[in-house]
Amino acid sequence: MSPATPNPPPVAEWLLKVCLPKGRVGKSILGDTREEFTQDLREVGPARANRRYWRSVFSLVCRFAPYAETGRSSARSSNKGYQDMISSVWFDARNAARLLLRRPALTLIAVVSLGLGIGANTAIFSLVRTILLTPLPYPDSHELVELFRIDEEVTGMNPTVSRVSSLWAVPYEVHRDWVEMAPVFIDAGGYSGTGVTLRGPDGPLGLMAGVFTSGAFGALGVPAAMGRTFLPEDDAVGATPVAVLSQGLWRTRFGEDPGIIGETLELDGTAYTVVGVMPARFSFPDHSYRLWISFSDDQKTSPVRNAGYMKVLGRLAPSITIEQARLEMAQVASRIGEAYPEEAKHGIGIFSQKDLIVSDSGTGLLISLGAVGLVLLIACTNIAGLFLVRATERRREMGVRRALGAGRHRLVGQQMSESLLLSLLGGAAGALLAIFGMEPFLSLMPDDLPRLGEMQVDWRLLATAGGFALLTGFLTGFLPALRAAGTPITAVLQEGGRSLAGGRSRTRTQAALVVSQIALAFVLLFGAGLFVRSMVRLLAVEPGFEPEGALIASVGIPPSIDTWEDAFVHFREFEARIRALAGVDEVGAASQMPFSGGWSAPPATVETAEGLWDGILHVSSVTPSYHAAMGIPVVAGRPLSPDDGANSEPVVVVSQALAEMMTPGESPLGRRIRVDVRGDSIWRTVVGVVGDVRYRLNQSPMRMAYAPVEQRPGVLDNWVVRTGSDPAGLVSPVQGAAQEIHPEGSSSVQVLDEAIRRSSAVISARFSVILLGSLAALAAGLAILGVYGVLAYLVQLRSREIGIQLAMGADQSRVLRNVLFRGLAMAGVGLGIGAGLSLGLGQVLESQLFGIRSMDPAAFLAAGGLMVGATLAASFLPARKAASLDPVEVLKGE
């Protein structure tokens, strides 16, 4: 061979060599193919020559693979067994493809339903893998823990995130004690987050910044891509403020300037020196944080020990377990309690970083995975049913083939190859669905689902789809295959063309499959029903204020304001501007507001009927008109008034829940509350009681105290504007007013009703309803198809019997009733089993439901009624067909 001649595609040539008969004939065919390729190279160029070569190889493989062993090989080929296997697999595959193509509609339905099942499973499983199974993107992330202050009463030996309802942030001073006194960490440090404005030649830019100590960077363990992260020197009082940029910010804002290290940034009027740039994959706490800055000297030197704003990250030493760390930190807490008696009531909670990030999403995701698993199972059962029909149709063929010497394993293999081919097609459809459906699917997910940014379509997703496809293939093919291969030869051959006995036993198996489908579909319908009812309850919750006709606005404060007096002037001016807008009836503001941002809860002491109560209280600083603007009713006493100024008697208004705790059944007016804020503890007198308010729809109302902002200074960045007209029309005027008073600040204004509908509780509930609802509909549809299939087959099988009955004068309506009764009997058994399964399911769902019990009778009856109705509808067509059989035609056909 001339060395200049290019070779044909090596894979194709190898395939050809494997499939062609051994010996000279095979070699000559190989030579023909090569010669054709050489000619094509000369005449049409390499690209088309390669294509033609592949086409040739494909046609030859199709012809020769099943017969590869029939070559005139003079010597016995050493890999004969291997070739036998290849050729029989090939033969089965071609045979299976032919059988599937012969019934294109049926094949299409099967591939689509398997595709839906496999696609949904692949998508949800990929989500579970990303969120629950993949380690966090930090080195040795299992060693990462986070520390919080917790109430002593809820501290058990082994508290889990979901059992501890309140995790409190701590101030710098307390964080320093923890880090210095704890021997269990390689590195530990505190962090918080803040919004900052970056000034520069391109204009101001609002950014989220992580505020970090060097220990927090050390615990995360990710080195900077350029420069460095923070050093212990940066934590010292008087150190130069430093900043580390994210890769994204460095790229977009600084044009990947390699000389950025050592440059100065102006953030909110303070100059920070850039010391490093993080690698692209680094994000903490999440992707919205674009840079990390050091704590200010004010924060580092503040003696405050009770108002917290920092979380503490720690990396456990390799030999230390989280339980050991809990014991050590309990000792640290008691030593702190000795030094500061008012802190003795607090413990230190340690939780793995991953548990914190995925906390509630875990259960929801596993429920989704279970639901899509059930749908796939139903689809498998359905297709197994189809194959059973076919296996019965081919009983005679199988019997004859066994009589002629076909091995049982060959027959099983052939049957299995059909289901495997079908499920691989379904797997391919499912993978496509998962790849192209991922984006819209993710957009349906609740926003607060963690780690969604890490989700991606990759080979693991395809491997998942492939795995599900193989599993499906075995599930759908195994039973029919065993049945077909296990048929006794003589029985089939003696039966002749008609087989009632075999048909009946097959009908029993198929009926059992349908019963299990009905049971599984019922479970899903019941689950969906629970979520629908739960969502209806959630939307019907009275939030305690009037959402209609109100806007809420989140408005920043100019960084130039640094005293409370200036802040109050700013607030009053903004309030006056809003009041001056046409259509505004009332306006108010609060430091914390429902459905808008988070809240803080400082420790407090309360005078109750049983003496002093110590604990944590939710306190909001408000303007006097806040309650009127929100539509929160005053139940007793008086509302706050503009006369409650900085120099008058300190007062407070409490919520009904707090009033009930203070003086059950009596008026709390005149009793006092001491709120420990910024080190000063003053007693405030209760002058009024207002209605309870829910901050989240799915949470019960919190015990709230409202203090006038001029007596308890706080940042009023949440405003509420009430109007008698359409609130949407006020959005841009309010935005304009915010812009006028703070041109560089960012503000967000939305209609309050909308904010509630977009709140995470509602979105999560809606997601569950959509997901489970559509899965349940799919499952019910598949089950109904199954019922229809069994009955239609039964009618076909017994048409002779029914024909004779009719000929003998049987009533048509009785025939109709008989068939309907069979359908109902399957539904009855299925529902009974489904009800049993649902008892278990309810327990799992309990934590995800709102306002209803897991054994909700309405959902139960609705699911049962739906399933019975659907079964009747599916039974009706075959029943009518049976009743309208013409006895003469039937008997003639026999």
Binding site: T5, G31, D32, R34, E35, T38, L60, R63
Partner: protein, 111 residues
């Protein structure tokens, strides 16, 4: 004799081999079929037909040494046996008899 009856494609293959005389090997047969009959045939189908014709005793083959453009692989060269020629002749006569007297039907339809 029924097993002597030739299918249309079998006739075409045998005729192509006769046309080619010397050097009737697979690649050349394919080309001839394409040129003369306008039939583009897959290689797999051709080999299967050749195998069948050989079994029926209508053709036989011998091996020639491989050339460089064939990657050194040998070449199978086919010849039609006397039995093959007889079968072709029989098919032709049968067809001719069937065509007889039908000229008026096809008048004007031929170009």
């Amino acid at each position: 004799m029924t097993q002597r009856f030739l299918g249309e494609f079998e006739q075409m293959v045998l005729l192509s081999i006769l046309q080619l005389r010397e050097g009737a090997y697979a690649v050349a047969i394919l080309r001839k079929l394409d040129e003369r009959a306008g039939r583009s045939v897959s290689r797999g189908a051709l080999y299967k037909t050749l195998e069948r014709l050989e079994k029926k005793g209508f053709l036989e083959w011998g091996m020639e040494e491989g050339a460089p453009e064939r990657g050194g692989h040998p070449r199978r060269s086919f010849t039609v046996t006397a039995r093959g020629v007889a079968a072709l002749q029989e098919s032709r006569l049968a067809l001719n008899r069937l065509w007889e007297g039908l000229d008026s039907v096809f008048e004007g339809t031929e170009q």
